[in-house]
Symmetry: C2
Subunit: 327 residues, 2 copies
DNA sequence: GTCACGGATGTGACCGGTCACATAGATGGA
DNA sequence: TCCATCTATGTGACCGGTCACATCCGTGAC
């Protein structure tokens, strides 16, 4: 009735437990017939190796822990989805550890958590100060891959993987400029300050066109702060184009514009970032930059598994209905 | 340099490893001064117990694995957030295991995964057939709590926790009826068929008011299918009120209505389900039922920890701008 | 004074795998 | 033919905790 152990399998197959272990770990030094036999017995006995015992003997768990500041926002959740999917396909357990803030205590606790080899390999989502802080404090012996904003993070030696947001932000800005807007305003989401790729790309395009560079309007992750940022811009009659930090931000900005009597896109054009699943069904449908966070998550797992690197699809501007020439 | 083990702590404190183990497990039979001493030494040595070794000795990991069909949709992601938060506060590791579908193979693999005691306790998100399937097949020796739709799942003996969606759906329907609508149409999201709490509540209210009960229009999780469902209703000029399975559905339905030239809420009222963070900032702001999935997740963890049950806040209709009297 | 008892602490075995090393048999070049 | 080498397999120790049980001590009742 109790779950079979490796020794039960060995006994039933008439081999030693070490041979079973070899089969389990794909050791090349097992005769094909022996392997075949062992596999059959494992099947028959419904044998499942105990992950804890394995982790203990191995010194490190066959697992991936995702360290992230958030699990529900689109980018974070999608990345987690990609990691889980890829990890599952490799037979790895997938864990989640949230870092609530970049406070010293929160970061330290998260680092301690993943320092336990039972956490396995680690994917740090370093989109924000909390994640970046964890990445900085992580001891060198923890196998880690970081998902970052374009360009990676200065001063860290870890492996970084990212989507080229900077280029995409520049594309989006150019699109608005080409429509005839004098300049493009920007409502920024929180980000690891020195990197701030979306903001950098926006500035690149403005610079390149010789357009004036308005002050960045900062917003938080919550809709309310984005709404307030939007109100501020809505009241300035000369703003006709707004690049929003993400789609949620765009939604709230649009609301603020609406309340101020300014139509999208007739009076003001807005573009988002992420291309959340519903963006195409907004009214008006949102012009936004499609980001493949799921693929980013998968790529992180590949990197941890030393699998051949599959190139990530670059973020791409999807033009829909929320952008138009200025009035 | 290598991480300290329980024996190192014992040696440094001048006690036996068993005493350290007792401190670790809050055994009552340790002299306060001894406990104090051991705690200090653990602190000084930065001792962190090895979770794998613990799981192995204990027979079951101090962990929670969330089994779910999805990690990105609002309800699922929020529930995961709640579980992670509560689990972390209790010092439990939190893992995620996605079941892609309710196919026999997918369900079996997920069940095997959590049957390994290393998975710890299990929270099954049984909102859909995949989760319900896992719940049904789970061996009795796996400690499990299920998050379900209102009313739970027939034929399962596991502990169930849920938000009373049925009542809330009825409330939402009554709200529309009271505004003067002749009846209310329903675009349903996928659900574990026999339960289908939202749908049941909608029917309850219609019955009670003696209103005609239109055929349910089914939709999937994707916006496109919701959009198609919306188109179908948009073309019927006699539909003036629609209860949507969730907020994402409402968004797409609204789009379909718009394309057909029908204004919300002047021509058609819509109400959603979930109250996603942006719902208040839609244009028009969405009338919807607020569901506290995060609290649901926390409650699942409490149940696993045998903590005193904190009552869940009932789902509540939030009236905003998307509902109005019929034209 | 002695003994039963319960709290505080220590010792050895064990959880279910892995690793390092030993051994037996097959292969092949001198 | 013989020994070096490689392949296939087996044995004992170990990973870092826990459990069951033994021991030691102080207390109170007789």
């Amino acid at each position: 009735m109790t779950a079979p152990r490796i020794r039960d399998v060995a006994a039933a197959a008439g081999v030693s437990y070490q041979t079973v272990s070899r089969v389990l770990n794909d050791s090349p030094n097992v005769r094909p017939e022996t392997r075949q036999l062992v596999v059959e017995v494992m099947e028959r006995l419904r044998y499942r190796p105990n992950r804890a015992a394995r982790a203990l003997g191995l010194g490190r768990a066959r697992a991936i822990t995702v360290v992230t500041a958030n699990t529900t926002l689109y980018g974070y959740a999608s990345l987690l989805q990609g990691v889980e999917e890829a990890g599952r396909l490799l037979g790895l357990a997938v864990g989640v550890r949230v870092v609530e803030s970049d406070s010293e205590a929160d970061v330290r606790h998260a680092v301690e958590y993943v320092s336990d080899p039972t956490a396995g390999s680690v994917v740090v989502v370093a989109f924000d100060p909390a994640g970046a802080g964890v990445l900085r404090m992580l001891p060198a012996d923890v196998p880690v891959v970081a998902a970052t904003e374009a360009g990676g993070l200065p001063g860290s030696t870890s492996r970084m993987i990212f989507l080229d947001e900077r280029q995409a932000a520049a594309d989006a800005t150019r699109h608005l400029l080409r429509l005839g807007h004098r300049t493009v305003h920007h409502v920024a989401i929180p980000s690891e300050a020195p990197a701030a790729a979306r903001q950098a790309g926006w500035r690149d395009a403005l610079d390149e066109a010789g357009a004036p560079i308005p002050a960045v309007v900062p917003a938080g992750w919550d809709s309310r702060s984005a709404y307030l940022a939007g109100q501020q811009l809505a009241r300035q009659r000369d703003v006709t184009a707004i690049l929003c930090g993400n789609d949620d931000t765009a939604l709230a900005v649009r609301r603020a514009l609406f309340e101020e009597g300014r139509d999208v896109p007739a009076d003001v054009s807005i573009v988002g970032f992420d291309d959340v699943p519903g963006a195409a069904y907004w009214t008006p449908a949102l012009t936004t930059v499609r980001m493949d966070f799921v693929a980013l998550g998968r790529a992180c797992v590949s990197a941890l598994a030393d699998a051949p690197e599959t190139p990530l699809e670059a973020p791409r501007l999807i033009v829909r209905e929320s952008t138009a020439p200025p009035p």
